[in-house]
Subunit: 477 residues, 2 copies
């Protein structure tokens, strides 16, 4: 049965004799699947009843039922419509990513922190879920340890030791609903212990900074150079939040001298280092830079995540805590939500244990290294004067624009070429003290769009402002 609804056809399969139930189910399914988009106006009951050859009362009953269930809405004067299920709410910037510059969806996505998730190992994840759920005792379905499942903490301790050099016993690990929650809980505990100020890198991710400040802590910004954060300037802070493996977003690794300096600072002042190891596994040209945590396990809170290696939607992260902090953080976790969902934890434990996690990371590393190389090659070709830095690891790089260039204008020219990219200023905590630059994420575009995205971006940022739109239209496709 095909019914025209305000010019849009309703393809409804009405099988069987029970017309009312059939119509109800068909409409529900059409809305849920998105075939009937939010806001779509449905035919008047009289019209639909005539089209279907059923009583008008039947249609009215079905509409009323679906309005009650929230699928449809009815407003005086505008008839019956498909309910809006995704109203525009201010969605927070994702961790290590950010909303599109102008809120529009551009065709080519070069935003840091965004990912093309089509490579997520769905079959492997499901196989791990099946195995984990089959093996789990009934007690694993009940309330559990606020630190998370023992199986996952054991697997993580082994993995982090092996892959990141972290010194961790399972007892020191607290599994969180993403690393953002981990950082928020740590910030609460530090504030409750009287800490006032946290040092943060002068360019950092706003979502992380919010996790720190929302608990009432103040910030002290640390400058960043080619050796990483200037950890020596944190003396007035009680803790500092660092990205030692790959400074976000500028890119340098924290140098051995700075690491030693940070460890000395912590030992002498009793200060704490929060190590955000957000992309530590993804280093391309030499062995991974090990975790700072191993230098000073009593003073470092290590923060890790499955968002980079697997998918942000999993919302799985972890803390490795100095032993004296474990109980307080576990209590904060219990107050917040008792514990993170057990099934996902058991699945990840099995996924790590089976070796699938390592295999997936190895595969992904090759993919992203090739993307990194393509970025460098594309800029050498399309924008030869623009240096690309921060390329040793991760999923993003920094393109330094010529002095005097306007960052906002460059982002605008890219957008005019249908390319979403961000200015470095997006990540400035206090003020944007450096020259103009772009942060280019190379993990977000799909394979077939990536090369075109790079070419368009290179041309857009080297073109003169006035000519950008016309040149973009002639970019190779």
């Amino acid at each position: 049965v095909v019914v025209a609804a305000s010019g849009c056809d309703l393809h409804l399969d009405l099988a069987g004799r029970r017309v009312r139930a059939g119509l109800e189910a068909a409409l529900r399914e059409a809305v849920q699947s998105g075939r009937l988009a939010a806001g779509t106006r449905l035919p008047a009951t009289r019209v639909l009843a005539a089209d279907l050859g059923v009583g008008r009362g039947t249609v009215a009953e079905v509409y009323a039922q679906l309005i009650g269930e929230g699928w449809l809405t009815s407003r005086q004067g505008s008839g019956t419509q498909v309910a809006t299920t995704e109203a525009a709410l201010p969605v927070p910037g994702p961790r290590h990513g950010s909303p599109l510059p102008d809120g529009r969806r551009l065709r080519y996505n070069l935003l840091a922190g965004h990912r093309d998730l089509s490579a997520f190992p769905r079959a492997g994840w499901l196989a791990a879920a099946r195995k984990a759920l089959a093996a789990a005792p009934s007690q694993a379905l009940g309330y559990g340890d606020p630190r998370g499942r023992g199986e996952l903490r054991v697997a993580l301790a082994a993995y982090l030791s092996r892959a990141r050099g972290v010194r961790a016993s399972p007892d020191q690990i607290v599994v969180c609903t993403g690393s953002t929650q981990g950082l928020a809980l740590v910030s609460q505990v530090l504030r409750d212990r009287g800490l006032a100020t946290v040092g943060v890198e002068e360019y950092s991710h706003p979502v992380l900074v919010r996790a720190v400040t929302s608990s009432g802590l103040s910030l002290l910004t640390l400058s960043v150079d080619e050796s990483g954060a200037a950890v020596g300037s944190a003396s007035d802070a009680g803790a500092m939040l660092l990205t030692p493996a790959h400074q976000f977003p500028l890119g340098p690794a924290l140098s051995p001298a700075r690491r030693a300096e940070a460890a000395r600072w912590a030992a002498h002042t009793g200060g704490l280092i929060i190590e955000d190891d957000y992309d530590g596994e993804f280093r391309y040209d030499r062995r991974p830079v090990g975790a700072l945590q191993a230098l000073a396990p009593e003073h470092v809170i290590y923060v890790g995540t499955a968002s980079k290696a697997l998918a942000p939607g999993l919302r799985l992260g972890w803390l490795v805590l100095p032993e004296p902090m474990v109980e307080a953080v576990a209590e904060a976790k219990a107050c917040a939500d008792l514990h993170t969902g057990s099934f996902e934890q058991l699945t990840l434990a099995e996924f790590i244990r089976s070796g699938a996690y390592d295999r997936h990371i190895r595969r992904s590393r090759l993919v992203y290294r090739a993307r990194r190389d393509q970025l460098v090659a594309a800029f050498a070709r399309h924008a030869p004067g623009i240096p690309i830095t921060g390329i040793a690891a991760g999923f993003h790089a920094v393109a330094t624009l010529p002095p005097g260039e306007d960052e906002h204008e460059a982002v605008g020219r890219a957008a005019a070429s249908d390319v979403a990219v961000e200015g470095l200023g997006t990540y400035a905590i206090d003020h944007h003290s450096r020259g103009p630059a772009l942060v280019i994420g190379y993990a977000a575009a799909t394979d077939h769009a990536y090369i075109t995205a790079l070419a368009r971006l290179g041309e857009a940022i080297t073109s003169r402002p006035a000519g950008s739109a016309s040149r973009a239209r002639t970019a190779p496709n």
Copy 2:
């Protein structure tokens, strides 16, 4: 290969030529699977090397590696041991449950809020997970709406309308990591809006009360009678937390008159009602008592959970919010952890959509109703003088002890009969103002243990204190 380790045999399969890797993997597996229990002392390197016919250096390297990974620990003087992975941390009382009275694991579990989870529909859940993950767009694996997945909010709006009479559009729903998180987030938002005091029922669950007070809100206790909470005495509070369908733990439903009174209070004072609908679907003798929310949707925050119908380990709960609160609560959720894991949400959406959720609830309701009837019958037989109340719904009932009886002693006599049960005083917020009573959970024991548990409890609480131990030993088994 079988190796004796301090009198306990190590069954290690050492296949293949790569002895070191094989030994490492075999030991890791033995620890992880629990075959080598925490604290087990391993053979000295010299002994194990001789047993296996390998070099002592190889064994030492394997031990060092596994110590580094956290599987083993080494302490001077006590050699190498299997690491303790589940150190005794103060685990918080679960929602609507509580730890065993004396921390020991007793054989017969009659604790409220504990559940025999062997009936969890594992196959159905996995099938839903498979279907949901196969259907999910890649974008569903990324960062999402802080309110939760649209698919789940649509499914919940329909379900709650149908099953609980809740007036909900998907836009008003915020999916949380369990209802405890939902209540904690709501409490934060109310405090930030200047609210100072929340009315709570004089007997309530301590975990819920902690979720309210940990945000800095004060409590005002509301007395409870056979019509439910005395909502009229909340005038000085800006909000009240109620369990209208089945007061926890005393059992009455909030009467129609009290519901109307609460709605009037909210409308006149601008106060808010937080409706904890923790077991609303489990009513046995007549139609479910609908949600209070439908009476005053602009003034009621509805709190629901999958912990009762499915399993607490899922950590899935939801809020239905008055429209003006949605944005603030979504922001609080984003600050806390961005959003709840998407895979579990998609799975639950599919589980509801397919009808499996309703079928599981219908099945469970029959099981628990039969248990409820067995409880009443067992007390009529074994403890005829003890009235059982609060039995119209849910998973627990209240047994009123004779005046002058000591609640603690009765709990102790039950424990001496290997039965875990709690006194009503466990749930008193201010002071235990009622006569002695026990809160009996009838969902926790396994099928084969349940009847025995009831008989033992009935005998234990009617026996004289001095004779309780000997009578318990002769209880039917």
